[in-house]
């Protein structure tokens, strides 16, 4: 009963924050509301017993989204105001669509279809890890993860085609030293999440997102001058996730008894997954960080 009330308040908060972000008059307010919305989403995932998602959402929402949006805002500075758009026509249309959606989601039966999760549980023992989400991501549906790394790479390559420079400003010394103080902890926590992914919530995506947030925060505080596409090691590591994945797939094909691409032999599965995940973490972290703060360094224009 109490938990239901908690759900009601949480859902109301989520909807209010989203609605206010969409309707607020100034863009900067929309962005802050959206960041608050991200924090609440992490809580919702935690409540819905999806700790993996809560980890990823927290890492993305608290670090990356904020940096992305504030960078975009800084570009908007000095932009003229926009005329206030009409509210009623879209509102009526959207209300109708929402009513339809509401009607259809209430048709969904509460009885779960357990076929897939039963099959996951059945094959968990031969996957090399004991955490089902990691087993799905890195073994049963390894194709998805491989292609996702490709999508990340494509996003980075695409963003690099449209560079627009925004100078980094000298950080406040308190902020710089505080972020430096926290950086070992960030590194340690993401390594822990990566390692932990084999048996408990954690894994390459969460660790990668966290590491990316850390890199972005340090970069915004004028650290990590090496973090740019010009650096050969960075480029190599960005590609390393994909390469390690493909190599692992090819190598496991060569082993006797292996017929299917991207299916790991049982005895080696744990090791292969850890290896692939390590490179994937580094690749995800660097790709996301470059996407967020990737522009070439430049002296402030009028300093």
């Amino acid at each position: 009963m109490g938990l239901l009330l908690f759900d009601v308040v949480l859902c109301a908060l989520l909807l209010t924050l989203a609605g206010a972000a969409m309707l607020s008059r100034q863009l900067v307010h929309a962005v802050t509301l959206f960041i608050a919305f991200g924090v609440m989403m992490a809580l919702a995932w935690a409540r819905l017993q999806a700790p993996d998602l809560a980890l990823a959402e927290a890492a993305i929402g608290a670090g990356l989204t904020g940096a992305l949006c504030f960078t975009a805002l800084a570009r908007y500075a000095g932009d003229a105001g926009y005329p206030k758009p009409k509210l009623w026509l879209p509102l009526v249309f959207v209300a109708a669509v929402s009513a339809l959606l509401l009607y259809s989601v209430f048709q969904i039966p509460a009885q779960p279809t357990t076929e897939l999760s039963e099959r996951v549980a059945e094959h968990l023992a031969v996957s090399g890890v004991s955490h089902p989400v990691t087993a799905v991501l890195l073994n049963f549906r390894a194709w998805d993860t491989l292609l996702e790394l490709l999508v990340l790479l494509l996003a980075l390559l695409g963003a690099r085609q449209v560079p627009s420079q925004l100078p980094l400003h000298a950080g406040w010394s308190l902020s710089v030293s505080w972020s430096r103080l926290l950086s070992p902890m960030l590194l340690l926590l993401s390594a822990y999440l990566l390692w932990r992914g084999a048996a408990a919530p954690g894994g390459a995506f969460q660790a990668g997102a966290l590491l990316a947030s850390g890199l972005v925060i340090l970069r915004l505080n004028q650290q990590l001058a090496w973090l740019s596409w010009q650096n050969f090691a960075v480029r190599t590591l960005v590609l390393a996730g994909l390469i390690a994945f493909v190599m692992a797939g090819l190598a496991s094909l060569l082993l006797p008894g292996q017929l299917v691409w991207l299916s790991w032999p049982v005895a080696l599965a744990g090791g292969i997954i850890l290896l692939v995940e390590t490179f994937a973490t580094l690749a995800i972290a660097l790709t996301l960080a470059l996407l967020v703060v990737g522009e070439p360094e430049q002296e402030p224009a009028d300093a």
Binding site: P51, G63, G214
Partner: protein, 91 residues
């Protein structure tokens, strides 16, 4: 335990007014700070209540990122012209 959870969420609900109404950007950023720390507390209690120890990791993650992020973000936004202008003014 559920009562604690509810009251913590209620304290976030109180903050909602400030994040929507402002009036200054500082108030909004502050409310995000409040959401961060109440969120950490809620996650701690939830991890106990739902018996999900992994939520403690989530709480640590939010704590560390919320610790470092606002400062970095604010620099990105606010210092741009203000800083160079003030540098120009000093004799």
């Amino acid at each position: 335990m559920t009562l604690v959870l509810l009251l913590l969420l209620f304290s976030m609900l109180l903050g909602l007014w400030r994040v929507i109404k402002g009036p200054t950007l500082l108030d909004r950023l502050l409310t995000i700070q409040l959401f961060g720390s109440s969120g950490v507390a809620i996650l701690l209690v939830l991890s106990k209540l739902l018996a999900l120890p992994a939520l403690l990791d989530v709480a640590l993650l939010i704590a560390i990122l919320a610790a470092a992020a606002p400062a970095a973000l604010v620099q990105r936004l606010g210092k741009s012209r203000a800083d160079t202008r003030s540098l120009g003014k000093t004799p």
